[in-house]
Symmetry: C2
Subunit: 205 residues, 2 copies
């Protein structure tokens, strides 16, 4: 397995496969085929076989894939065979929703701290968390060794906060602010901006 050579677009499909496989496992299914998995995720069987074969031979001709085995392998490849601590920055509506979302822990992520620069929000309890002051953020993240952050601040302050996160040692940012971030090459950014997704659909209408 040579991680450097695998296109990011393939990496982007693996979490979709993993999610579908976990649902199959939850339903008590033991084995699946690339055809069946493909029907669930809307991707061709040939593409799925090709994607998965990048990482080794995980299926058997005729009998298909063992679901738990393939889940284990995908979790290992995506490095979610552990749980990553996550810092959440921005305690607005989306921040609240993310802090209360129960779906992260089973998929490898655990929000452990929440920050906001609004003094009115600092000290507020969100679920089990107390919102902390952004002023303390760099030191808190660095000393805790947190590598992943979710950014739910307004567009106007997103770049500045992202730079502080990088300075604190963060290497992956899930950015909810509707703006592209400029970060060093060794920092990964993924964007969640519903309007861009909507625009990608209305093109076809």
């Amino acid at each position: 397995m040579n991680a450097e050579k695998i296109p990011d677009i393939i990496i982007g499909r693996l979490p979709i496969y993993l999610r579908a496989l976990q649902r199959m496992a939850d339903k008590g299914m033991k084995t699946t085929s690339s055809q069946e998995l493909g029907d669930h995720v809307g991707i061709s069987a040939a593409q799925i076989r090709k994607d998965i074969s990048q990482f080794g031979e995980f299926g058997k001709q005729g009998t298909g894939y063992s679901i738990t085995y393939l889940i284990d392998k995908l979790r290992e490849i995506l490095k979610v065979d552990r749980v990553w601590d996550v810092a959440l920055v921005g305690a607005g509506d989306i921040g609240h929703a993310l802090a209360r979302y129960q779906g992260f822990i089973n998929r490898g992520y655990n929000i452990v701290m929440i920050f906001d620069n609004d003094k009115a929000k600092v000290g507020e309890k969100i679920g089990e968390f107390v919102v902390e002051d952004t002023e303390a953020m760099v030191e808190r993240i660095r000393s805790a060794g947190v590598k992943i952050a979710m950014l739910t601040v307004p567009a106007s302050s997103a770049q500045e906060v992202a730079e502080k996160l990088v300075q604190a040692g963060v290497r992956g940012i899930l950015n909810y602010a509707p703006i592209s971030l400029n970060v060093p090459n060794n920092v990964k950014v993924q964007h969640i901006d519903p309007a861009t997704h909507l625009q990608r659909m209305t093109y076809y209408l």
Copy 2:
């Protein structure tokens, strides 16, 4: 311009360009280059020129792009030179956050109705909206001619609700439920699932 032949991956980048151009316009900028735009969005100048040239000649050698002209063209291409009515299904945390989000209207979308199947939520006010019963959804959406929906219901009911939305005439679904949806080919689905985005990043850590 032959819409059928343009790869979806290019269509997916246009909203990113549009977003960056709108920020430039907000700052009072009049013209830009593919190089400058590329620096903002983290995409190469050559790629941007190639993407935009699929739709015509919008820039001038030497002087670059007029920002307002390119914005107008991209809005026309993405069909957001109008405002689309949107139905929101699911009045949970994410539903609340989306209902209150102020960033849709300027980008072509306007939430006009909110549904939930929880009788305790029906009648609740969220901002200017009153949550309606999902039982009335198909008829309400159909008679209003709404073509776009945001789906923020649990994974267990997402497929069933999606089928009702399709039945009601919806042709684009922004799906926040962590599950792939099976819909007819003439219905577009975009997925927002933060865990899949996180997993795509941790692969590289």
